[in-house]
Symmetry: C2
Subunit: 197 residues, 2 copies
DNA sequence: TCTCTGATGTGACCATCGGTCACTTTCTGA
DNA sequence: TCAGAAAGTGACCGATGGTCACATCAGAGA
């Protein structure tokens, strides 16, 4: 179906994206220049802008792809939870998948803050394809919440605690382990999501 | 004591810093250029580098000053707490002082992430003069912790939740109110800091 | 009062950045 | 075969953080 030109174009995009993933992954978003990405892949800088309108746009595409991968390794398990605590455990298994991608969790954080000062980028990033979404979390726990605490708020508390932990890690603070944050977050969710007696 | 030259130099620094505080406060750290800061204060760009070695250095100085102000409005009350819950309440009064400085809490976040990728800047920022410190928090709650959960970890959980909330706010997510985060954080601290029965 | 020294102030200059565009090369379909 | 479209190129643009040779000025010693 695809013509030789289209094939070539997609091959170039793959090469540039591979180069970008490698460089972003080692140097971060801001510290990696477009020229470095193209040089490393053996192209001229202009080629980059044939395929993407901006560095941000390529990065968003990488984020989307990475989150798809994360979800692929975890998503099949999310519906089987019997209660809120188990649902939270499955959610934190997913979050641990992200943390395991050592460099990238810090780079997501970097890009998130970068996007916060840009209206349209911020709107894009708030979509669930590009980020942990309060809404997605809410859908996962909704059936198990017996209190009148909104499921969305449980999701928001969890993502806040998770991203706050990422900041600590990015700064090299070793006070908290992931396991401890996980336990605290789950306790918090169970406490607020269970009807008080 | 100070010669007229020293006087002049300090006056210039004050003017440049005032200009910087105003511009950072409205446009953020990255989006404010050194040339803008000096222009707005009526100096040439070179003058800036007579007084500071970098844009980062000036910003650190501003952060230090601002945290000193925050502490000044709150610090006198911290020792009076009767129990862990009350100590946490006082700590969150302090955190609310920071949140109340609407733009700046977002800008601290921006600079924190910016500093995370720079070894020496990161080390500096981890000092308590420039940041919420797990250690300072720990000292405030230590006397009221009856479980064997480390006070430092209580501090870290709190700052993580707080800074995670700042990310949500920076992205314009309105799911959580500050009051709700405060309540969750205090519950979390009381739960983990109180001996289980 | 004059002069020398060192601190303050200046703006042209530098390398680098994200992004643009006129141009060349390569491919496609009639 | 050949015209037009798409892919690839690199000089160029304006803006950035930072530098530096030079100008200006305050103040101590003569």
């Amino acid at each position: 179906m695809a013509t030789k030109q289209q094939e070539k174009s997609q091959q170039t995009m793959r090469e540039l994206m591979g180069s970008a993933i490698e460089l972003f992954g080692t140097k971060g978003f801001a510290s990696t220049s477009v020229a470095e990405i193209t040089d490393h892949a053996g192209y001229a800088k202009g080629s980059f802008y044939r395929h993407w309108n901006s560095k941000d746009e390529l990065f968003l595409q990488i984020v989307e792809q990475k989150f798809k991968e994360y979800r692929a390794t975890r998503h099949d398990r999310v519906q089987k939870a019997a209660d809120l605590r188990e649902a939270m455990g499955i959610i934190w298994d997913f979050l641990e998948t992200i943390v395991a991608d050592r460099n990238w969790s810090a780079i997501f954080l970097e890009f998130t803050i970068h996007a916060a000062t840009n209206e349209s980028l911020r709107r894009l990033l708030n979509q669930s394809d590009y980020r942990l979404s309060d809404r997605v979390f809410a859908d996962l726990v909704r059936d198990h919440v017996t209190s009148d605490f909104l499921p969305e708020k449980i999701g928001a508390l969890n993502t806040a605690l998770f991203e706050g932990f990422l900041i600590h890690r990015a700064l090299g603070t070793e006070t908290l382990s992931l396991a401890e944050v996980r336990e605290a977050a789950i306790d918090l969710a169970v406490k607020s999501g269970t009807r008080r007696d």
